[in-house]
């Protein structure tokens, strides 16, 4: 367990260092804190004085060091647009994105695992063929098309589901949640379906391929030879082994999912981090961009840790290594 935690911490530090360097470079190259501070109407000479006072003319590494020091204290600068600490702005937007990703992940799991398993067990059934064909086409359709089609069908034509915003939310200890109101849940449907459609084909294919491979192994043949019921062979013997590689890929893809929220949130006017990120790009609100990177980096590390723990729970060999 100790080795596991240590490995995690080292990984986290490494990821955060890379992100901070990227973030700092962005700030260094495009950002102009002087403008952020005093606006556009100050003469160049006066600006130069301010730059000196702020240490902006110091060498790169000194500035980077200062940046890290402040970041460790949770200070990622002020958002030029919101006139508030950038971190605070991001954190206030995070619940919207996290909830969207959680619902998307649940959809991904609930759809890809049963259909992947079914397609592996009955590879010749019409359902399997349909799923395979649909997932081939599915990969090629861009998200915004799916999103627009969904909005048009369910939002405009049928008028069943809301197609923008988060709807009614409830504040629980500072976390704006859409999980606890009917309206909030309804608002989650279309965005999460669009977001999951990006990865669903990949996941179904992955589960199917892994399961088919496992079904060919000697230990599955032995399980049959023991006269076990087929449910047991499929859902205990084969499925548990299928899960291992699936969990690994899932962990990586979950991180990537956060990147895809930028597009989805924009289409659905979803007031989350991704939506705000695009706004920040338009306004050149660099502190906010950097804060976004940092927060997404933290989420990425946390998600990977959770996935690793789940993996260790399923795979006995990892557990042994971990306890040593």
């Amino acid at each position: 367990m100790f080795a596991f935690i240590l490995r995690r911490i080292i990984q986290a530090i490494f990821v955060m260092l890379v992100i901070s360097l990227v973030g700092f470079s962005i700030q260094h190259q495009i950002g102009d804190p002087v403008r952020d501070l005093v606006g556009e109407r100050v003469t160049p000479a006066e600006r130069e004085v301010i730059r000196d006072q702020l240490g902006l003319n110091d060498p790169f590494y000194i500035q980077y060091f200062r940046f890290i020091k402040n970041a460790c204290k949770g200070d990622l600068g002020l958002s030029f647009f919101y006139k508030k600490p950038a971190l605070e702005v991001i954190v206030s937007k995070a619940p919207a994105t996290i909830e969207l990703v959680i619902v998307t992940a649940i959809i991904l799991i609930l759809v890809s695992i049963p259909s992947g398993i079914y397609a592996a067990i009955y590879p010749k059934s019409w359902f399997s063929r349909l799923v395979m064909a649909a997932s081939t086409i599915g990969v090629a359709i861009p998200v915004f098309l799916t999103a627009i089609a969904l909005i048009y069908l369910f939002g405009v034509e049928l008028n069943w589901l809301p197609s923008y915003g988060r709807g009614e939310t409830v504040n629980i200890w500072g976390w704006e949640s859409g999980f606890f109101t009917w309206d909030g849940l309804k608002h989650l449907v279309l965005p999460s379906i669009s977001l999951s459609s990006i990865m669903l084909p990949l996941f179904i294919r992955l589960v199917r391929a892994e399961m088919m491979e496992v079904l060919e192994t000697e230990y599955i043949k032995f399980a049959w030879a023991k006269g076990l019921h087929r449910q047991r062979v499929w859902f205990i013997h084969a499925f548990k082994n299928t899960l291992l590689p699936v969990i690994t890929v899932f962990g990586v893809q979950l991180g990537i999912l956060f990147a895809f929220t930028i597009l989805t949130e924009t289409v659905f006017q979803w007031q989350g981090m991704g939506f705000m990120f695009l706004e920040a790009v338009e306004r050149s609100d660099t502190s906010l961009l950097v804060a976004y990177l940092v927060v997404v980096g933290v989420i990425f590390v946390v998600v990977n840790t959770i996935v690793d723990i789940v993996y260790g729970y399923v795979n006995p060999m990892v557990r042994i290594v971990g306890t040593k």
Binding site: F222, A225, H237
Partner: protein
Amino acid sequence: MSHLLEVIDLEVKFALRFGELTAINGVSFTLDKGERLGIVGESGAGKSVTGFAIINLLSKPGYISGGKILFEGRELNRLPEEEMRKIRGNSIGMIFQDPMMTLNPVLTISTQMVETVLAHQNISKADAMDLALEKLKKVHIPSPAKRLHQYPHECSGGMRQRIVVAIALLTNPSLIIADEPSTALDVTIQAEIMDLLLELCETEDMGLILITHDLAVVSQVTEKIAVMYAGKIVETGTTEAVVHDPKHPYTQGLIKALPGSLQPGARLNQIPGMMPTLTDIPAGCAFHPRCTISDTVCQMEVPALISIDDYDRMAACHMVEKSFP
């Protein structure tokens, strides 16, 4: 008395894209209660396919296309899947070649043992656990109670094969089919596993079908031998008779290929030439291109498996047939 197992004219085909491949072509043999039969032959002869056909567990494109398998008075090849399941792992146990691959890596030994009992008997989990422990003791595993809670990767190869044997024993089967149970193990452990199997068959009065390349192993453990070549049995008889006085030129070749006395671990494939693949089995006797005494008749007619002495010996060879009055 009727036989424990009777295989009559078994035919197995693989439905491949380019056509059907006959892997087993008219195999017949019998096994009585508590009797031990060895099936030997070079790689690809159809030994494993025969074994899996008995429990109706052929891998995908394979199917039984003809013949009958009678086990304890029931025709296995006609049984519905659920009835067949009740026989698998219950009255017929299987032991596979590579114990590293046979046990499920993510399930504990106890899980893999208990589930086998519960699939066939209506007893409590605790009772099944006791039974598992009892069988682990029977296969002489050190600290059996501890093993139960381990995962396969925590046990050595020999240990795992003992566990596999213990799993086969759980339901007191009347027949065990062991497909090269020692080939993947170290030479010393090979002998241990074979001794264990022999001991268990004798004490539990179990029938055994031992599939192997290794004539030496067969001669130690079994009472009868069936020699297979290209999907057919070419010679059968008591182990004693076949090993010491082989009649079929193929069997003679196998035995001659053994270095000096019959040592464990010796391999068979030292006869000049190769066994034909199933797609181009020669006309007539399949062995004739490699045979030293073949005649024109061997190239034309498929020899039948017939009795050649006053005992249970049978061989499929025109030349042997001629010399037998």
